[in-house]
């Protein structure tokens, strides 16, 4: 399935750009995570990596639809 990835903070540095199309096996967010970690091993060194769809956090079991926008949320550090 093809989805759009949008990356912030250090995630943007790791994938090398703000936005990219990801073609991955499966349909859940967990499978997106696996695909990303395989392609960019640096993700494994982060303290955490969360995902958001439609401006809400989603967990690994969340099922995606073709062309969904998935936002990568590395450890936040506001304030």
């Amino acid at each position: 399935m093809k989805i759009q990835i949008i990356a912030f903070g250090i995630a943007k540095d790791i994938v090398g750009k703000k936005q990219m199309t990801l073609d991955f096996e499966g349909k859940s967010v967990g499978e997106v995570r696996t695909c990303l970690v395989n392609r960019f091993p640096e993700f494994e060194q982060l303290a955490s990596l969360r995902f958001a769809v439609n401006t809400s956090y989603v967990d690994d079991s969340f099922e995606l639809t073709e062309n969904d926008e998935v936002v990568l949320i590395p450890p936040v550090s506001g304030g």
Binding site: Q45, L46, I73, V76, S77, G78
Partner: protein, 138 residues
């Protein structure tokens, strides 16, 4: 919610305070997070904040709504700055008002604690010899 703000302009804490002041409110508590000049003994030149703005505003609104309900506040305002923020400048200002001061103290501390955990904003420390995304690594 006009009280929830993300801006690249310098924060005006007085504006944030005024937005929650109310003739009925006795106690007003404010938290101001300023940019420190050092981190682990190393001199910081400035910070650079990036936000996933649509979601950050939504998460900040959630915090304010929960705090208002839980501690019966009159109001809460959260202003966060993005972009380049210099040493000694405010990165965040949170103000809240309530009839009794104890509630405002608790609510304000809850708000900054929760903001630091849930709001998608990232800060990069810029040094003379490089830069680091804060808290990215364990």
């Amino acid at each position: 919610m006009k009280n929830i703000v993300i801006t690249s302009e310098p924060l005006n804490s007085q504006l944030c305070i005024n937005s929650v002041a109310d003739n009925g409110s006795g106690g007003l508590v404010v938290f101001i997070g300023n940019v420190r000049n050092k981190t682990k003994g190393k001199e910081v030149k400035y910070l650079d904040f990036e936000a996933y703005e649509a979601m950050a505003l939504k998460e900040m609104q959630k915090i304010a709504r929960e705090a208002i309900e839980r501690w019966h506040l009159y109001d809460m305002a959260i202003h966060h700055r993005v972009g380049r923020v210099g040493i000694g400048e405010a990165a965040v200002v949170i103000a809240c008002s309530s009839a009794h001061r104890k509630e405002s103290f608790k609510a304000c501390e809850f708000a900054i604690d929760t903001l630091k955990k849930t709001v998608p904003i990232w800060k990069k420390e810029v040094f003379e010899d490089g830069e680091v995304w804060v808290s990215a690594h364990p």
